[in-house]
Symmetry: C2
Subunit: 295 residues, 2 copies
């Protein structure tokens, strides 16, 4: 594991129908992150577009781009310009009829350090991801970079302790979650509060269980359902960074913001000596984790 | 799954050197729980004695008792008297040189519904459990009772998402954690706060990840290190109950208290429809969870 401080930035921003404007917002955020000393910048999931999974429309596959498409090129240029590692997210066109929700990691010379294809795919009213995204086939493999071994996961993965654990067992030094999650306007305030709290604590708990810092970057703002339906979304922002005891180090509110935070990478070693959870895992008794259910 | 309300009580109390007094405190708590309408009472881990694992002493194995020993008999009588399911914890003498940290579940007619032998065994300064307790050999099997299928785990298990998940996959309707955890007097206030927060959020996160209510019953109060050493312990109490979104329903502070809480068992069905995490588990990609580490 690397030691010393790591300064990272979460580029929480809103998206609209104008893809170029979204890209500009992402790049402006990266520039601000660089000016504020960040060595690593994380963008929200699918940051080049509105969250298009609100409904199912084959025409929206036009938004997909190959791994070497324009978003990667722009992020690579920014990474090289600012000598910063950048984690972005694209709608990856892999083959006709085969697309992924993919995080891409650019090294600070602009080269591609690695990718992660979202493994857990949700499908809920307003979040029709199983229509658009083929489940990832690369497993839970961290990406090695000059700022450390990054456990990059995407959104729905954040609800799965298995994903966090597998990244940690594979040597990840930090977990990163580009995300797009928001309130259902039909929910009352208490339900909205429970959902936001649940989202925070489960990711903080991944930090606790694995003795790792965690950073989650969500999109922000209102996006209409452009099909004319009722699945308008209010993305809740609240990007945050926590340490290896789940302690919150920095937290945004609901508005667009570049959240910059320095973490002490040496704390994982210290915390894991006190809480040596890896030592005591009952790997002889975990076979059932690969079963769908026990009945 | 059962529907309707379940009223449960967490009997958070302190322990001293007088074992009879400890048993009386447990039984008094059960009586109060019954008077307040509880159908299920949960006691702290090893509630008949002080937490004896502060240091290593072969003589302390005298505290161990067989599965049909006095603690079970007393709890069975109380369960039958009050027609209540009772979850207690014993230092189980299984054979010479073979002891377990075991939770016992008494049915409301006083019969033994089942047991759980603590699977994850800690070993830290002041918590020398690997000296006393053989790791459990019964796996993560819920116990069926008249108030539902109980996912009974013990203390250190609470840091392991694997344990919670396996109980949930085996059909547990609620997770119960008899516990003994406290502050190290050498830690400063900020560290103590981080530890208590981490303990709360990881258990609440098991509720979120598995769409289940969770109840954790800790011991309370100061216990001296009777070896003359420095491992005095201040057990932090803070027993709590949360619902299937991790929402806190009831919470004790640091003092002894019978915490009574009613939970709506139907909420797991509702919450899991909105957050169908079980549906999307990547059981094809979880083999690595049975490995010690990835290197």
């Amino acid at each position: 594991m690397k030691s010393g401080e790591l300064t990272l930035a979460l580029i929480q921003h809103g998206m609209g129908a104008d893809v170029d404007a979204n890209r500009t917002a992402s790049l402006d955020g990266i520039a601000e992150a660089a000016a504020r000393g960040a060595q690593l910048a994380v963008l929200p999931e699918l940051h080049a577009s509105e969250y298009f999974c609100k409904y199912q429309d084959p025409a929206l596959f036009d938004l997909a781009e190959p791994l070497d498409g324009i978003t990667r090129r722009l992020l690579a240029e920014a990474a090289a310009d600012y000598k910063m590692v950048v984690v972005g997210g694209i709608f990856e066109h892999r083959a006709p009829g085969l697309a992924h929700n993919t995080a891409i990691v650019l090294e600070c010379d602009g080269s591609l350090a690695g990718i992660y294809r979202k493994m857990h795919i949700p499908d809920d009213p307003g979040y029709n991801e199983k229509f658009y995204f083929t489940p990832g086939d690369l497993g839970f493999e961290p990406v090695d970079t000059s700022v450390g071994r990054l456990g990059v996961l995407v959104c729905w993965d954040q609800w799965y302790p298995e994903a966090a654990r597998l990244m940690a067992l594979a040597g990840a030094e930090i977990l990163l979650y580009p995300t797009a999650i928001g309130f259902d306007p039909a929910d009352d305030e208490a339900e909205a509060r429970r959902q936001l709290d649940a989202w925070c604590i489960i990711q903080r708990a991944h930090g606790v269980a694995n003795g790792l810092p965690v950073a989650s970057c969500n999109r922000a703002g209102y996006e209409p359902d452009r099909s004319g339906g009722t699945y308008n979304a209010e993305f809740w922002g609240h990007s945050f960074v926590c340490g290896p005891q789940g302690e919150v180090l920095a937290e945004a509110d609901a508005a667009s913001e570049v959240l910059v935070c320095s973490i002490d990478r040496g704390r994982s070693e210290t915390v894991r000596r006190t809480w040596p959870f890896f030592r005591d895992r009952r790997i002889d008794a975990y076979d059932g984790l690969t079963r769908r259910f026990g009945d």
